[in-house]
Amino acid sequence: MIDRPVTGLDAALPQQAKPFIASPVVFARHAINGTLEWFGDLGIFFWQVVRAAVTPPFEFRELFRQLDEIGSKSLPLVALAGAATGVVLSLEARYSLTRFGAKSLLPAAIVFSVIHETGPIITGLVVSGRVGAGIGAELASMKVTEQIDAIEASAVNPYRLLAATRILACILMLPLLTLAGDACGLLMGWVTQAMVEPLSLHQFINSGFSGADFNDFLPPTLKTAVFGLIIGLIACFQGMRTQGGAAGVGRAATSSVVLSSLFVILADVVLVKIIIVFFP
């Protein structure tokens, strides 16, 4: 990793606070320059990772380790978040639909809400919190203790070993975690309904999925692969460009979570529109 000064969205606040006090114009110029520079650096980083990922040697062992780290170890948290979402959705939907005399649509409302939006976005945000912070802090700690330099000095490409494997693991695991989150959400949605009035799981599924087809299920699930790309890319980028000891590690972990969550939400806005247009 060639050392570059930390700039952009996560540059140290005191450096920007001074010009802000001196002049809002200077502050705005710094902020715009910093943001553009951050996106430029992110683009260069992404290109380096892509180039490293498609050329041998491939780091399969590290990839499998990351699949376990990012996938299996996030599963309990995603399942719990999905279950909680299912309960809340079920309670809220019951209240609203009963008021408007549409109680019979309750299973469909829960199913559509979970598989279309709440399942994917909740999974994305939960993973960006757990995995984003983990990757950001781990790589930042390796950076400030020169371990990434040591990898490079050992003639191993850190973009391939550290970044490509983590990003690919995020891309592959997010859709699978979303399936798990969806399943838990639907299950708990049914349990919540069944506690209020008798309703078998069979009835709930039949009624909920009666109007649904593959387009309702597949695109929203697969869009989380894009969330995975965003989470992995931003966390690796923030981690591997860290400077400044323990404080830098803290900043990297925080900014990884904040930025990846923000970009997941922004990407969701765009992806929802695309899905509506191409998979009506």
Partner: protein
């Protein structure tokens, strides 16, 4: 010897011509310049090191000694100047091209930079796993041999956090030697160590030099250590090589900074 950026390197070149197989130095840096903001760290450094030779780079803290090593191994890109490894200019090399060059180089970091999630054994095995096709048994034998070479054979399963700074440097040295490099770069190998551990590291470096005949560059501010392990010394000040030569050359020098440095070392 004269002070300066145009330091006389002819004695070194003569030695290479007589001693080296091809006459091409293992490491040659020419007119290297590096600034950080307004601070000039390297201001036209020119140095060469040939196979079997150890050069100690001395100087006060912040004079760019470690930056010089990082530039030589390609971890930092200089503002200008060239670095040639076995005659190959590394400017513009991609990460993978640089990787091929780095397979011939070993680097001991100032704080060892061991991978903190791996054991001592896994740390030393790391370069072998990535660059040598060998069975698990062969790899294990090689790692044990390397750790025995640095006196760490009894600590295979320990984590880096569980061993002392001196031991970490030994493990770092074993890792640097794993691919049998012909260029060894040591960044402050004795910094932060007690005198006995420092002497042990010095002896170890000397032993390795005798056995492997590598071209070595040792960055240090420890004059005693430099005198013990190096064939030649280069003293840096304000980004320039003030003097390069044997320890006796330094002692004979009437340059004010050299006399001051020797007096306080």
């Amino acid at each position: 010897m004269a002070a300066t950026d145009q330091i006389d390197v002819s004695p070194v070149m003569k030695r290479q011509e007589s001693g080296g197989k091809t006459g091409v130095p293992a490491v040659a840096v020419e007119d290297l310049r590096q600034s950080f903001g307004s601070q000039k760290v390297l201001n036209g450094i020119t140095l060469t090191v040939s196979r079997g030779e150890t050069l100690a780079v001395l100087g006060r803290s912040g004079t760019g000694k470690s930056v010089l090593l990082r530039i030589i191994i390609g971890l930092q890109i200089p503002d200008s100047g060239s670095v040639r490894i076995h005659g190959q200019d590394i400017a513009g090399f991609t990460l993978d091209q640089m990787g091929e060059i780095r397979k011939k180089m070993g680097f001991l970091f100032q704080h060892a930079a061991l991978y903190d999630s791996l054991t001592v054994e896994q740390n030393v095995a790391f370069p072998l796993q990535h660059h040598r096709k060998m069975s698990k048994a062969e790899q294990s034998d090689r790692v044990r041999a390397l750790l025995a070479e640095v006196g760490m054979e009894g600590h295979l399963d320990k984590m880096p956090a569980d061993i002392s700074g001196g031991m970490q440097k030994r493990v770092g040295l074993a890792r640097a030697l794993a691919l049998e490099p012909d260029i060894l770069l040591l960044d402050e190998p004795t910094a932060g160590l007690d005198p006995i551990s420092s002497a042990e590291i010095d002896d170890l470096v000397l032993k390795l030099q005798d056995e492997h005949h590598m071209a070595s560059i040792v960055v240090t501010h420890d004059l005693h250590s430099a005198k013990t392990i190096a064939d030649r010394l280069a003293l840096l000040d304000k980004g320039n090589v003030v003097i390069a030569g044997t320890f006796e050359d330094l002692q004979k020098s009437d340059i004010e900074f050299v006399r001051e440095f020797l007096k306080h070392s």
